[in-house]
């Protein structure tokens, strides 16, 4: 074996690039599955959009400052954010452990999360290509009102990746429960409900009761949906935009720290079943 003198960041970059390229190659083969998933993703925001547009119309043309046009913008951007924050779910951990695939990943000289981050990042290229025509159709259908500033566009571009990282880290954290119990579905259900309530996924956070908004400020979920969407469609202002990015950074730090600690305990408990 020859000496490997490549620096760690460069080596990781190589892993990310290669894994992302493989994701594009693999997922491009499953166009129909990806289109179906995309259609599934669209159902959720279109229902929300229809409901809240009806509410806004019933209340004289706006609800909580949102008009049908800005609500359309919110939920169309929602579809992009949703595509961008698709991550490896805890259900996948159960399968990986039962099938023995996790053992294979643990034998590699790189933390398995890098492979998931890289793979799902690459997959987004395929999603994005499929999302663009659908987004165009939604724009024609719902006439969104959207006038982002260059700073908002720039912050949005960073925030969707921040959202991806925060969501990945916390779902990985839940996934690690499988190292202790091999079953995680129940905990993940709680996470999913909490995300629906506190993230801006169900509805813009400003339409939620004040108490829910306060609680949401102390949880990571808003960083994964509400903040990136509002960065583009809302009126956050420069301070709000930078605060949102800083909050994402904070949650990335918290998530990484918790993950590192849990990982150490999890690999000790790993029972390598499935082989």
């Amino acid at each position: 074996m020859s000496t490997r003198t490549v620096s760690r960041p460069r080596a990781l970059f190589d892993v990310y690039r290669t894994e992302a390229r493989m994701a594009v190659a693999r997922e491009s083969q499953y166009r129909m599955r990806n289109v179906m998933s995309l259609v599934g993703f669209l159902t959720e925001p279109i229902v929300y959009l229809a409901v809240w547009t009806a509410v806004a119309n019933a209340k004289g043309g706006s609800v909580g400052g949102y008009t049908p046009g800005t609500l359309a913008a919110y939920f169309i951007v929602w579809t992009l954010v949703r595509n961008m924050n698709v991550v490896f779910t805890p259900y996948g951990f159960e399968w990986r452990i039962r099938s023995g695939e996790m053992s294979g990943r643990l034998l590699r000289p790189a933390h398995p999360i890098h492979h998931d981050l890289a793979y799902f990042a690459g997959w987004k290229v395929v999603w994005l290509a499929m999302w663009l025509p659908i987004a165009a159709a939604l724009v024609l259908l719902f006439r969104p009102v959207l006038h982002p500033e260059p700073l908002e566009i720039a912050v949005f571009a960073v925030a969707i990746w921040g959202a991806y990282l925060v969501r990945s880290l916390f779902q990985w954290l839940i996934g690690l429960v499988t190292f202790f119990t091999t079953r995680v579905a129940a905990i993940f259900e709680i996470y999913a409900v909490a995300e629906l309530m506190f993230s801006g996924r169900l509805v813009p956070m400003s339409l939620m009761p004040r108490r829910v908004q306060t609680v949401a400020n102390y949880l990571p979920f808003k960083s994964t949906f509400g903040f990136p969407i509002e960065a583009l469609v809302g009126q956050l202002g420069t301070r709000g935009l930078l605060l949102g990015l800083a909050t994402q950074l904070l949650w990335i730090g918290v998530g990484s720290g918790l993950l590192a600690l849990t990982w150490r305990a999890a690999v000790r408990r790993y029972s390598a079943v499935g082989n």
């Binding site: 074996m1 693999r26 029972s271 082989n275």
Partner: protein, 328 residues
């Protein structure tokens, strides 16, 4: 003498396994009070493996072979004892260690199912940080040695079991590990493929001075590759030594293959008749009596052929297990 490639001392792994009776009542009771049983999967195992050595790790299902392999690879944390592989403690999972070893398990999990193996090879290049020139050289060498030819450009899902196993082994060796743990590498393969993989493992170890610890239920694998075997049962080592010593020590009989000039002769007076195939009879004779019985056979009958062999290694290991088990 330098440091051994593998040093294992007093290795133990105890699993706590939930257990309950069958039926609804037992299921309901287990909701409130769960019973556990301790299973000593590996119970005080000690051995060393020298660099470049190929060792067969044998035992029945549930003997503790795979658990030991997983501990050596760093997948499982031992309950007790000491393990060092290539000078590293595997459970620390240091990158430097993981880059120098490979564990190939039965369920083959290196390859991306939907993509050609060439893509998985490239991913392994990136993961193991293999420089491009070395990667190309090793890949070409493996393609040549394992006769992979056009297989690496076909999606993995379109490969047969044997083809997939060959490609899987190649993927596991692209980073040229110094330590190779092979768990049933030839299981489910046809005889030709088994032979090819055996030849390849021997050649790989010779070329790269790699140590190999191999589990297999196919004794042909063990006989072809391993001078030394470690036999384990119920988590304890029953034998550690040369294959020839194992046979000498535990084979209490020899097998005589006798081809007679005429059929229908009763040879039961010479030993235990194990099989009869036309004029060919296989006799089992106590080792000490072999010369006498052979002489008597030659004197009493017209023989077309006579062979005196040790019993198959499977039978020898059976005898070893029988000797180790407490008598009822």
């Amino acid at each position: 003498m330098g440091e051994p490639a593998v040093h294992v001392a007093g290795l133990r792994r105890i699993f706590k396994v939930p257990e309950r009776e069958a039926g609804l009542g037992a299921a309901m009771r287990s909701l409130f009070r769960r019973r556990y049983r301790e299973v000593r999967a590996v119970d005080g195992v000690s051995f060393d493996i020298e660099p470049g050595e190929i060792v067969g790790f044998l035992g029945p299902n549930g003997a503790g072979k795979t658990t030991t392999l997983k501990m050596l690879a760093g997948l499982l944390h031992p309950t007790g004892g000491e393990v060092r592989v290539l000078g590293e403690i595997p459970t620390r999972r240091r990158r430097e260690y993981l880059q120098r070893m490979s564990l190939v398990m039965g369920n083959r999990n290196q390859l991306q199912w939907d993509l050609p193996a060439a893509d998985s090879f490239e991913l392994n290049r990136a993961i193991y940080q293999v420089p491009w020139p070395e990667f190309r050289r090793t890949r070409d060498e493996l393609v040549d040695l394992l006769d992979l030819g056009g297989l690496v450009t076909k999606p993995v899902r379109n490969l047969s079991l044997g083809e997939r196993m060959k490609v899987e082994i190649a993927a596991a060796l692209l980073h040229r590990p110094d330590m190779l743990f092979l768990d049933e590498p030839t299981v489910g393969l046809d005889i030709t493929m088994q032979k090819r993989i055996r030849t390849f493992i021997a050649e790989y170890s010779r070329r790269h001075s790699a140590s190999v610890l191999l589990t297999s239920h196919y004794m042909a694998d063990v006989e072809a590759l391993c001078q030394r075997v470690i036999v384990i049962d119920h988590g304890r080592i029953l034998f550690d030594g040369d294959l020839s010593t194992l046979v000498t020590r535990f084979a209490t009989y020899k097998e005589l293959g006798v081809t007679l000039a005429g059929s229908g002769v009763d040879l039961s007076g010479y030993g235990e008749v194990r099989s009869r195939d036309g004029d060919r009879v296989t006799l089992r004779v106590p080792k000490a009596e072999t010369p006498t019985v052979t002489a008597r056979l030659l004197a009493d009958h017209t023989l077309l052929d006579l062979t005196v062999e040790d019993p198959p290694i499977e039978d020898v290991i059976e005898l070893l297990f029988a000797a180790a088990r407490p008598q009822a």
